[in-house]
Symmetry: C2
Subunit: 420 residues, 2 copies
């Protein structure tokens, strides 16, 4: 697949052309010559930016968007989410994930890290949508060793079966959390990840309750417990990290694991704090940003997420200079956490051809004193005009093939699932 | 002006028609008969909601969007904003305000409370845009009694001259703050407001520094100082109110003044806290929501503002049940603070024909388990299709007359002003 994008505006270069070959950016430069057998896309001055990366979500939970807001967490889970999830089948997950992918493409996200039930439902949705994702079947064995055996066997099976998908679908081990997965299964996950070089994506330190339970049950704090099972490695993605203390951050930095902050979800569920960004960044920990599921956000628009990320960090640290726009932008485009997004997050030759074209002439992006400030503080996903992943155009002029069918099918399934 | 809106979807009624006559809603009901001499608008199933109300902004500061973010407040004001503002003329304010009105219309705002320089620049922009606004010339007399005399005389003159505008332009007294306006001018404002029944719009209790300075200079806290000048009345709009203590909230409740929270600006400037919403609401204080100027937000989209409002209140109170969607929606549509927005904020017969038509079929509004939840937590201003104010269509299918000219003129002026 070969693509010649003409007349894109780059903040540091002005108007240029981009050649992409075999899913990679080949050349960026002014008025490039025609490319043999290439599809041509005239950007007419649209701005090119790196695609956004959603480092933690549960895509199919878009089915439960707005199904029980403003509730206490356990009340919400017990009376709404769990009864509805009990009815989920693979096709529901497929259509819910397609809906999420639709929303992500429309808001400029090119890659995400997912964690949910029905692996093939998710994986097929990623495959069909054209996005990149880390996908794995959630692992929970609170019911005991039989359940543990089942979910370990399932991981082995899914790894094998994941070969049927393109390399945009990255098989990822997704143990749910330290309070829902046994030490045995966590250790097994560590070994399996090491043996097959697989990423591991897990919730960690989301609430003070998780910390106190961990101290009670294991005598150590969550990151230490995870490390004791061998699960803090450079392949590990830790979602949330709200309640990590200094020693845990030191440990995570030493092990090279990535932390993904989910500011909107953390605020909406009032988990009891904000991710200690400054401390984590100072230690050089790779940091990404996630939306969490649409049921606890209730949006997958990473443009809105990155603004809230910067705002809550300024607010918490009582300092307007914290997380300036350029730093926040690096986080949301995956530059600060290369484990996410399957690439460097940089628009340059040799990198993935994951390119988002933005309409610069929206009223909310006028004037253009500082383009990156406009991206972080003024834009929403609706300024995105065109999305290209691995050199393929997924959306052009905000139109995505099959959008209406996906919306209708997902809405019908959501309605049925939530009739409880 | 007579308008027949066909096939609008109301959350509680399903598909109906709306008749508006002379700027008011006349009838709402299924399949209404044709209306003599009426313009017809077929909404084709778009959802009708009340227009959003921006209770505190400085519209023309859209010219300074992104011109110095992530800076300490005084550094930002002294090295960026004040030097640029020193060059502002009435035409700059007109075009900056037109740009702001463009952004507000596109995001479903129908009315706002403004405070800035060059009264006629603002007022003409409001008049020409078709929106409603409370508009006044900012009053500051820190330079001494001569400046005080001038700005009091100016208020008298502008009140008189405001008769040249339609009643959508509501002349409002806008003393800047207790630390920039003398007790003499504040008292005068109170008397003048009483005599002419004029609203008063003032910043109050935005930072701990304002409180400590007030205690040092006047021996009382900000709301008490304002009350001592007679300026806490049912006509008073207090912007921010971040640092109000219980006694001040009691006093404000007793006087019937309105407080407008500006959560995004407060977080971005890290003013040192969050508005005590629960305490204010418990006391029955009328509460509105504002964006503040685009230079400290950097957006005027009240859909994003209301989400952040709910999030920061849940976060601060450590309780996900705080400010549920329905309550937040009442605040942002002006229902909880009728002094703002020039109407009740309700869509019913006899009320202002200020109506926003929303596209329900966006991916981010799918599924529709709870429409108001979708409005508060999932929508941005980009879901707005059509905006009607006082029965006149200001935007249809997201198209506003003259948009490009306004963008280009404002951008050119912004560039010139910021070459410092």
């Amino acid at each position: 697949m070969t693509l010649h994008i003409k007349n894109v505006w780059l903040q540091d270069k002005g108007l240029v052309d981009i050649h992409t070959v075999a899913g990679k950016i080949k050349t960026i430069g002014p008025a490039l010559p025609p490319l043999a057998n290439a599809q041509t896309l005239d950007a007419n001055g649209l701005a090119a930016v790196s695609g956004l990366v959603n480092g933690h979500t549960h895509a199919a939970m878009s089915l439960f968007r707005g199904f029980g807001d403003d509730m206490q967490l356990m009340d919400w889970l017990q009376t709404r989410i769990w009864p509805a999830e009990a009815k989920l089948n693979e096709e529901d997950v497929y259509w819910g994930s397609r809906l999420a992918c639709l929303e992500m493409i429309r808001s400029g996200t090119v890659a995400f890290e997912d964690m949910y039930w029905h692996f093939h439902g998710m994986a097929r949705a990623v495959e069909d949508s054209g996005l990149r994702a880390g996908v794995g079947a959630v692992m929970i064995d609170i019911a005991g060793e039989k359940q543990g055996e089942e979910c370990r066997a399932q991981a082995v099976q899914y790894l094998e079966e994941s070969s049927r998908y393109s390399d945009r679908v990255k098989f990822t081990l997704t143990p749910h959390a330290i309070y829902t997965v046994s030490a045995k299964s966590l250790s097994w996950t560590a070994e399996f990840s090491d043996k097959h070089n697989l990423p591991v994506h897990i919730h960690l330190s989301e609430t003070p309750f998780e910390v106190s339970e961990c101290l009670k049950n294991h005598g150590v704090r969550p990151a230490v417990h995870l490390d004791q099972q061998g699960l803090l490695t450079p392949r590990t993605i830790l979602a949330h990290g709200v309640c990590l203390d200094d020693a845990e951050l030191d440990l995570i930095a030493k092990r090279g694991s990535t932390i993904v902050s989910n500011p909107v979800s953390n605020m909406k569920l009032a988990v009891g704090g904000a991710f200690p960004y400054l401390k984590a960044a100072k230690r050089g920990i790779p940091i990404g940003l996630g939306s969490d599921g649409a049921a606890s956000n209730n949006s997958l628009d990473m443009f809105q997420e990155v603004k809230t990320f910067s705002l809550i960090q300024k607010h918490t640290n009582n300092d307007p200079t914290v997380l300036p726009a350029a730093d926040a932008w690096r986080v949301v485009t995956g530059v600060d956490a290369p484990l996410l997004g399957q690439g460097s997050g940089l628009l340059k030759a040799g990198e993935n051809a994951d390119i988002v074209l933005v309409r610069r002439e929206e009223p909310e992006l006028t004037p253009n004193h500082d383009f990156i400030s406009n991206m972080v503080y003024s834009a929403t996903g609706h300024v995105v005009d065109t999305v290209i992943v691995a050199g393929k155009i997924l959306m052009k002029n905000r139109i995505i093939d099959g959008e209406k069918e996906i919306r209708l099918e997902a809405a019908a399934r959501a309605k049925k699932l939530c009739e409880i």
